[in-house]
């Protein structure tokens, strides 16, 4: 027992602080594990929908449009692609290796039929739809089974892709 008396003047208790901490073990699942395993070797693996043949990257294990598993042979993709759309972000977030303002992009990788959300390191005034970009990888010795092996994308010296070639991905 303590003899410490609370101060009467503190006023009524109006707010209760309740800490919550829950620990989980998260599974990447079959499809993402395969993709991440390939990333450890510097490879980008897409998966083809058995119904319409379109290539998903990243794949979540099923074609959301047809509700079928994507369990066929993987398709290796280039680490180059086209910016479908983008945003310039001026709010900081942990873990993003770029300074504010930075660019987030939806990239259609060459050979893929879906967009990948990622970061783009470039002059924010230069970013535009159709811009050609390539992945900037971490040094090889730092590769792990992680999407973070790609630090960000960077512009490359290739002519812009025509709007019609990527407009369905916006």
């Amino acid at each position: 027992m303590s003899d410490k008396k609370p101060e009467e003047k503190e006023g009524p208790v109006q707010v209760l602080q309740t800490p919550v901490r829950l620990e989980y073990v998260f599974s990447a699942g079959q499809s993402a594990s395969r993709l991440l395993g390939a990333m450890a070797k510097g490879k980008l693996l897409g998966q083809r929908c058995p119904v319409d043949g379109r290539v998903y990257f990243p794949s979540r294990g099923s074609c959301p449009q047809h509700g079928v598993p994507l369990d066929g042979a993987p398709v290796e993709l280039a680490d180059k692609g086209t910016v479908a759309t983008y945003s310039i972000v001026r709010i900081p977030i942990e873990k993003v290796p770029l300074e504010l303002p930075y660019v987030t992009v939806q990239v259609v990788l060459d050979g893929a039929d879906t967009v990948l959300m990622h970061l783009l390191k470039c002059d924010v005034d230069k970013v535009h739809m159709g811009m050609r970009v390539q992945a900037k990888w971490k040094p090889r010795e730092e590769w792990t089974s992680s999407v973070e092996n790609i630090l960000y994308f960077e512009p490359i010296d290739e002519p812009d892709a025509p709007y019609d070639s990527f407009k369905e991905h916006i």
Binding site: M1, K4, E8, V13, Q14, Q17, L22, A28, Q30, A32
Partner: protein, 148 residues
């Protein structure tokens, strides 16, 4: 389906300290706890709820008539926790118990430090053991202890 392969796994933690505003009735309850007192609330039929609520759980009617209670009471049920988890109120074997405080008609849930399971008994009398520092929270009562 193709063969199931071993998947990658990783730890994932969700951690946040929520800030809960209390409203008038819970505010009085927690303010009293900070002062090492317990209050309940009177329902229309005269019975007293503790912990108090700002409404009658059966009818939805608003409540607000606060009633001072003793910090002693009687155990109406209990469960013996031999291996406490780190979040739980005591880090040695203890009982969770429903405790009807003197002056109240409904029991509240809390921990009882009885030392051993053999000392626990439904209808045993207990008294609040107050925390050294009180902040206005249910754990201002560290636990209850048997009254001999």
């Amino acid at each position: 389906m193709s063969q199931i392969e071993k998947a990658l796994t990783a730890p994932h933690v969700i951690e946040y300290t929520y800030k809960r505003s209390l409203g008038p009735v819970l505010s009085q309850f927690f303010t009293a706890l900070r002062e090492r007192r317990v209050v309940g609330v009177r329902r229309k039929d005269g019975t007293v709820l503790c912990p108090p609520k700002e409404y009658d759980p059966d009818t939805g009617e608003s409540l607000g008539d606060m009633v001072p209670l003793k910090d002693t009471g009687v155990v109406t049920s209990w469960a013996w926790v031999a291996k406490p988890r780190p979040q739980q109120p005591l880090q040695k074997p203890f009982a969770y118990a429903l405790i009807r405080l003197d002056g109240a008609d409904t029991p509240l849930l809390h921990a009882v430090d009885a030392g051993s399971e053999s000392r626990m008994k439904t209808s045993m009398r207990v008294r609040a053991r107050w925390a050294d520092t009180t902040t206005g929270a249910i754990r201002d009562i560290a636990c209850f202890e048997p009254v001999d």
